[in-house]
């Protein structure tokens, strides 16, 4: 507190010092009358007082404050310069802060679980398995049996469990409702380590088949349906027509990996009927303290053979064959599962925004250089009056840092607004969206960015004008002469850098646009997605149990839906393309093809489809026909296959018709009755998988309706009425148009595109301003020279050309450097590009053209004013 007292006391102190010295002088004056000794003059009173004053006060703060005040006054005098500089910095810092807060929240912050660094997800690769690449998103744990083996015999994990997302129908609480659910095995909630707010977690007892059926609620569901009633534990809800007892409630915002479920239901794997292969499930585990991921992987790898030989294989499957698949567990931090490939995009966006910042700084640095030049006389005079070199440098740095800080403060406001924009424009499936916020780390980032950019900005003028030889400025500044090349050098370098960086950003934006175009030209396997309404319906077992009943009910629903005015056709399937619900994979054995012992045919994606499903989607039939209701009711052994599968196995679509295959050797043959166009199941940027379509009805299906009224409220009401006319307890889930699903599949590309386009536009704009600034400043410095040229008979056109050429030369150097840089940097973009190379000729030709055009326009404006210089005026001015 002492320094504070010192500052507060300064008034009092000043008075005391004066009085003490005055007293001394008075005493001496009295004695001087009596003695010659004291006749000598008193020392420099002011200097003594200042020295004492400095002793008593916090010198550095005081001088800093004085300097800051002086600097602020200077900035206020040049309001235009100050506003432009601060706004430029604010935009740069704001954009960087906004993107950084996303990067920080999504990539850097740990997941919201206690000791999140111990959490891992378990996946498997099988380099020896043919066709394994058809499985989108990789494989978790292969089956319940693998889970049992892992969970019971591992030595590396505190807990391990499998889970799956889905939807369940809840009835008996108002309108029937389809809600998001997650099924968990024992070990999932234990791994995540989040305690319930009410009741208890699901435990081992809950997953015993035949035991009491239980469920946990999310905080939101508890609030919505039970009003936060604390006596809810012990009560029951009807989930998928089974009564389940509520055992607990999870806290607000609780997520299982990337899903925020309404209900959490336990799996009930039947150990006695479990087989080796099964349904693959995502797996989450918590490492024991001190165990590395490698150790844990090795531990699980040890368990693979144990698993393979301790469970019964499905008929027709030989575990021996599986050895060739080389099933290998791979662990990765759970965060990677949540964030997915978004990290690529975010780092690219962060990088481009950082480049924008550099360009913005170059502009401000240019302004500062011009300003320092204008202040050269002032600085020279200060030096002449005895200001130390350090003081001049300090003054220059202080000014730029002050600009940086002011820019940073306003930038925070921009960032806040920008973040809202980003979140509203960003992909809806952006992971950890709800966690994005500006926290202390973001503030620190902004502060550091502001100060560092301020320091760097000030460094250039400080080096130039704080150096020795400044007195030469006094002589030179008297009469303006055409500025030497050397003095323009720094500014030219800045502009060239700007152009080069703008080019890099524009090229990356251009490549994204081309990628988007390339994706748009691909036929996804369906047409006019905006006319397709999709929705998911689950028939509870109470309504339809036997396959015949299910077919009957769904036939009813299709007919009711088809009867709605404006509906062209209706179909349903296990899922619609790109819905991403998780795929079933299976092998087929084509008739007449012999696989050597110990080898298995490649995995194929299996889907279930209804009559008119493809017609509704607009999928072309390459050969044969669609299934009919007769096929479904008669449960005929028929199938359709995708074109690529037909070509692979039988050579041509038409050749596949009438051919037969089995899924499991020894079971009845299934006949190929149709071949359909390839469908880009996993989004157009992924290869279209080989698919087998089996005609059947299934209790849970996605319905698809072709109508121009898709998505309208009136239509959806009619759809609801139609479905409820079949059964009033049927909830509708995932109501969306195919267009929404399609857009969603491209959301990341379009998000990146928008971000890079914004960055590119900012860069272009700043680049133009930069060129304009430098050229017009150069023109203003050369007024005299231009005046002489004109007086000597130079054509105004020639003067214009001279000035524009100067701008174009700068642009040209920048473009060449930028092209070289872009060629290298675009490698980082590779994973985001589709259908074009990183050296796409069109982009690399168009962008420099745009830049040249912009540079031409930017230098034409000062060129025109140069050509109108009045020689007499220009010469008389000085």
């Amino acid at each position: 507190m002492r320094w504070w007292l010192k500052i507060r006391k300064r008034r009092l102190l000043d008075r005391d010092l004066r009085e003490e010295i005055a007293f001394h002088r008075a005493m001496r004056a009295r004695d001087a009358a009596n003695s010659e000794t004291y006749g000598r003059p008193f020392g420099n009173e002011t200097q003594i007082r200042e020295e004492l004053h400095d002793m008593w006060t916090f010198v550095s703060i005081e001088t800093a404050w004085r300097d800051a005040c002086y600097t602020l006054r200077g900035l206020r005098r040049n309001l235009g310069f100050t506003i432009i500089a601060i706004l430029t910095l604010a935009i740069g810092i704001g954009a960087n802060t906004a993107v950084f807060s996303v990067v920080n929240s999504v990539l850097l912050k740990p997941l919201p679980y206690p000791k999140a660094e111990e959490l891992v997800s378990v996946r498997h690769t099988a380099p020896g398995a043919p066709g394994i690449s058809v499985v989108a998103g990789g494989l978790g744990v292969w089956s319940s049996t693998m889970y049992f083996t892992y969970a019971e015999q591992n030595r590396s994990f505190q807990a391990l469990g499998v889970w799956n997302r889905g939807t369940v129908a809840v009835t008996g609480l108002g309108e029937p409702e389809q809600v998001r659910s997650v099924s968990v095995s024992d070990g999932v909630l234990e791994s995540l380590g989040v305690p319930p707010v009410l009741g208890r977690l699901l435990g081992p007892a809950d997953q015993k088949p035949g035991g009491p059926e239980t469920v946990m609620l999310s905080y939101g569901y508890w609030q919505r349906h039970f009003g936060g009633d604390r006596s809810v534990a012990g009560r029951s809800v009807t989930v998928d027509s089974r009564l389940r007892q509520i055992v607990g409630v999870m806290p607000e915002g609780f997520r299982i990996v990337d899903v925020e479920p309404d209900l959490i239901v336990p799996f009930a794997f039947d150990r006695n009927r479990a087989l080796l292969p099964g349904y693959p499930l995502p797996c989450v585990a918590r490492l024991k303290p001190g165990i590395s991921m490698q150790q844990a992987s090795a531990d699980l790898a040890r368990l693979i053979p144990i698993w393979m030989y301790s469970w019964p294989a499905a008929p027709g499957i030989n575990p021996k064959a599986w050895e060739k698949w080389r099933i290998t567990p791979t662990l990765r931090p759970l965060k990677q599962d949540v964030v997915g490939n978004l990290s690529d995009i975010l780092w690219v966006v962060m990088g481009t925004i950082a480049i924008v910042m550099v360009i913005a700084c170059a502009n401000v640095a240019n302004l500062l250089l011009v300003r320092a030049e204008a202040r050269q006389q002032e600085l020279t005079i200060r030096t002449a009056l005895g200001a130390a070199r350090g003081q001049i440098v300090r003054a220059l740095l202080l000014e730029s840092v002050l600009l940086g800080l002011l820019g940073g403060a306003i930038g925070m406001g921009f960032a806040y607004a920008g973040l809202h924009l980003l979140l509203s424009q960003g992909p809806a499936n952006l992971p950890r969206l709800h966690e994005i916020s500006m926290d202390a780390r973001t503030l620190a980032f902004t502060l550091v960015l502001s100060v560092v950019s301020g320091l760097l900005l000030g460094l250039l003028p400080a080096l130039k004008y704080g150096g020795p030889g400044i007195l030469a400025g006094l002589r030179a500044a008297g009469r303006t002469v055409s500025v030497s090349r050397e003095r323009h050098h720094a500014r030219n370098v800045l502009v060239v850098t700007q152009i080069a960086m703008s080019l890099v950003l524009l090229v990356s934006a251009g490549l994204m646009i081309r990628t988007f175009q390339a994706m748009r030209t691909i036929e996804p396997g369906f047409t006019h997605p905006e006319q397709l309404q999709t929705l998911r319906i689950s028939l509870p077992p109470s309504l339809a149990r036997a396959p015949q009943q299910v077919t009957r009910r769904e036939n009813d629903i299709v007919e009711k839906l088809a009867a709605i005015p404006g509906v062209a056709s209706v179909g349903f399937g296990s899922e619609v393309p790109m819905e991403g619900l998780g795929q079933t994979v299976q092998v087929i054995y084509p008739e007449g093809r012999v696989y050597p012992r110990g080898e298995t045919p490649p995995l194929r994606v299996f889907k279930v489809v209804s009559p008119e499903f493809f017609q509704t989607l607009g999928t072309r039939l390459a050969a044969g026909r669609e299934p009919t209701w007769t096929d479904l009711y008669g449960r005929r052994p028929v199938a359709l296959i995708s074109e690529n599968l037909a070509r692979e196995v039988w050579g041509a679509p038409s050749a596949a018709l009438g051919k037969r295959f089995v899924e499991v050797p020894g079971t009845p043959w299934q006949e190929v009755i149709g071949v359909v166009q390839d469908i880009y199941e996993n989004g157009v940027q992924e290869k279209a998988p080989e698919i087998v379509y089996l005609p059947a009805a299934m209790p849970t299906a996605t319905f698809v309706i072709r109508t121009v009224r898709a998505g309208t409220k009136g239509f959806l009401d009619q759809v609801r009425q139609a479905v409820w006319s079949v059964d009033a307890s049927l909830p509708l889930a995932s109501v969306q148009t195919m267009q929404e699903i399609y857009d969603q599949s491209m959301a990341r590309t379009s998000f990146t595109l928008v971000m890079l386009a914004i960055a590119g536009a900012m860069a272009l704009l700043l680049g133009i301003v930069g060129i304009y600034g430098v050229i017009s400043y150069a023109v203003s410095q050369r007024r005299r020279e231009i005046g002489i040229r004109l007086a000597l008979g130079a054509e105004p056109r020639a003067v214009r050309r001279m000035v524009v050429r100067q701008g174009l030369i700068l642009a040209g150097i920048g473009v060449v450097l930028g092209l070289a840089a872009a060629g290298g940097l675009m490698q980082f973009l590779k994973s985001l590009l589709y259908g074009i190379s990183t050296l796409d000729p069109l982009t690399y030709a168009a962008v420099p053209l745009v830049l040249f055009l912009a540079a031409g326009i930017a230098s034409y404006v000062p060129a025109r004013s140069a050509a109108t210089v009045d020689p007499v005026q220009a010469l008389r001015e000085e």
Binding site: E19, F23, R30, Q47, W56
Partner: protein
Amino acid sequence: MPKQRGSGELVQGTLDMLILRTLARSSLHGYAVAVAIESRSEDVLRVEEGSLYPALHRLELAGLLTSEWRISETNRRAKYYKLTAAGRRHLAAQSTNWNRLVLAIARVMST
């Protein structure tokens, strides 16, 4: 620094010591300190204001002196300096040091 009449240089930091020594007997204002040092050194040492006041204030900041405003013999407000306990200890240490130094120098010079 006290100026010397005659030749030779004064050991650095002696002004502080002289001030402390002067104030050891009674509390004085700045002018009186200067006068005391000059008269006691029989005008060999001259104390300049430019050195005296910074030294007084430095010692005060270091906690070796305290000060108070009193009415002087000429009926004016003046700042009187007084030795603190720490100042007394410091003076004692400095004196010992000084005596040893003087002795050592004398021995060297006399050989």
